[in-house]
Amino acid sequence: MLGTGILRGMVETAKNFAGSYHDPERLTTVEYPEQRIAPKENARQFPFLVHDTEDPMKGLRCVACQICEKECPPQCIYIVKSKDKRADYKGQMQLYPVTFDIDLSVCMSCQICVEVCPFESIKMDTEFELSNTDRFGGLLVNKHQLAKSNEHYRKIHPTEAAVSDAALAVEVAKAQAKAKADVEAKAKAAAEAKAKAEAAAAAGPVGAVAPAPAPKPSSPAAATAAAPAA
């Protein structure tokens, strides 16, 4: 019968009309500035630099290795290395970024910088209200604006942060053990060198050069993969 399809459709819309008043499934609108949905834990918006100490600039984990700068697909990261070195969280002497800028207008929030960073130093923020009235200056975010504490990271990505902290703790423990071993080895080597001065060349300066921290494969991918296990 002609018209039944139309009538059925009208019944359907009437149901939805009524449903929008009492059924929360049917009225999914969130009135944004007043109401907000909590961001998802995995959400990623814009990178930030993690720092550990009170003073953001001193505690930046970033060692200006420029891996993220190279890997960034739209190349929105700009890093200038420092001339001098300073001790990082495990007490190792490292470079640090003099300039660390990210162009917000170019960044596409892909998280590749986070994945490739071997130092757990750049992470994604969940802050999404990033608009700015200054079109040119305001969209270039410098390291002072980028630096956020590890507490902040723990707050927004608790699961990930736990894995990251654990990994860092392992690193620190390793570094300490290694330093200890180095000291012992040095002492030993010195003793040996004293004992066998002629054969010093063959023994070699075992711990003379501090081994660079091996690039850790534990990207957040692996980190979260290990999360349930941990």
């Binding site: 399809g5 459709g9 990623r44 890997e71 998280q111 994945e115 692996a222 993969a225």
Partner: protein, 406 residues
């Protein structure tokens, strides 16, 4: 090829694909120059529909010549969104192209990711762990449902249904987007798959949430079909409009639901058996008329089939790693060679053709965009129809300009 015909359709015996009697050599598939009424030029109206026209799905233009309301010539024009994705990719590392693939077909970034990852895996010979395969399958099918839902909404919007179906579609889409966001961190630009697996594991509770969404989805589909599938106006508008014959569809390289609406059984999930699709029995719906209504209905049916895959897959998913431990994130250099990998995205066959010369960047990176190739026969489908038909025919092709223009 076994086709179980559930019921005779309109009493017409439709040609199965073997009966095409291969006269492709005799049949001329080239577009005929339309005889535009001679000396009637003054009565013809040349209209440029787009790129700011409200119905052309992004920055797309159709140069249409109209005789009254009838289309006598139609030239698709695009490239407004051209950013030379392929050149960018050739200057970026293999991994760096992954977020760019999100932006091809921004409705289905996960399937785009998969197609690219699959091609690179073919090129470099990487294995994908079991759990990752399951995640890939689940996310791809969710993407398919997402895309088809939106497309049905957009198509009806083009038909003048003033946003109601679109809003219902978006309401449901939101549920899937929420799932995708909690998994990948982004709603549309997921950047989730990696060569040899996926970027991260499922967050806690994700599977239950996904099961809930999948279980509730058929209710929405029923509602949607009550609202519109039986609507007389919709049927009158779409049936017999924008017809595409199976022979022309094959010859023109049409893929995806559009091809199947023309009655050709060719679904890469069945043909190539990539991923773990062979483990799940699902059916491929086929249309008999190749018109807009068939394309719409095939998508509705495909959604139901996708849900049939999703339901057991969400139960069967095993524990394990999600990424091949041998796969390198940085310094990834496949051996010289080339590979063409393709998967069935919601829009059709998305292929990536990669040539490696051993360097960290691909030497040649080519995207085979289904949207672009499905546009080839737009003029053939629209000639002789009215301008309103041209609009819905374009809508039923399902194009995304990010993919057409790259």
């Amino acid at each position: 090829m076994s086709t179980d015909t559930e019921a005779p359709v309109d009493g017409t015996q439709f040609m199965t694909f073997h009966d095409l009697a291969y006269d492709a050599g005799k049949t001329d598939f080239q577009r005929k120059a339309q005889p535009v009424g001679q000396g009637r030029e003054g009565e013809l109206l040349e209209v440029a529909m787009g790129p700011q026209h409200p119905s052309t799905h992004g920055v797309f233009r159709m140069d249409v010549v109209l005789d009254g309301e009838t289309v006598v010539k139609l030239k698709p024009v695009f490239g407004y969104l051209h950013r030379n994705h392929e050149k960018i990719a050739e200057n970026t590392s293999y991994l760096g192209s992954m977020p760019y693939t999100d932006r091809l077909d921004y409705f289905c970034s996960l399937t785009n990711n998969w197609a690219y990852a699959l091609s690179v895996e073919k090129l470099a010979g990487l294995q994908v762990p079991e759990r990752a395969e399951y995640i890939r399958l689940i996310t791809a099918e969710l993407t398919r449902v997402l895309n088809h839902t939106c497309l049905a909404g957009f198509l009806l919007q083009d038909m003048g249904a003033l946003g109601t179906p679109l809003m219902y579609a978006f309401r449901e889409r939101e549920k899937i987007l929420d799932l995708i966001e909690s998994l990948t961190g982004a709603r549309m630009m997921c950047n989730y798959m990696r060569f040899g697996g996926c970027r991260c594991d499922l967050p806690a509770g994700w599977l239950d949430a996904a099961k809930k969404v999948v279980a509730e989805y058929p209710k929405f589909l029923d509602e949607f079909e009550t609202l519109l599938s039986g609507n007389e106006i919709l049927m009158a508008r779409t049936q017999g409009v924008g017809k595409l014959s199976a022979e022309l569809a094959v010859n023109a390289g049409i893929t995806g639901p559009m091809l199947r609406a023309s009655g050709v059984d060719y679904d890469l999930r069945k043909v190539d058996n990539y991923g773990i699709y062979s483990r799940y029995p699902f059916r491929v719906p086929l249309g008999d008329h190749g018109d807009v209504y068939d394309r719409y209905m095939i998508r509705m049916l495909e959604m139901r089939e996708s849900l049939k895959i999703l339901e057991p897959a969400l139960k069967d998913i095993p524990e394990g790693p999600v990424v091949d431990p041998k796969a390198k994130l940085r310094g990834f250099r496949p051996k010289p060679g080339e590979a063409y990998g393709r998967i069935e995205t919601p829009k059709g066959e998305l292929g990536f053709y990669l040539i490696s010369d051993g360097s960290p960047n691909p030497y040649r990176y080519r995207v085979r965009p289904p949207s672009l190739i499905n546009l080839t026969i737009l003029e053939d489908m629209c000639l002789g129809q009215t301008i309103a038909d041209a609009v819905i025919t374009l809508g039923s092709v399902d194009i995304v300009l990010g993919e057409v223009d790259r």
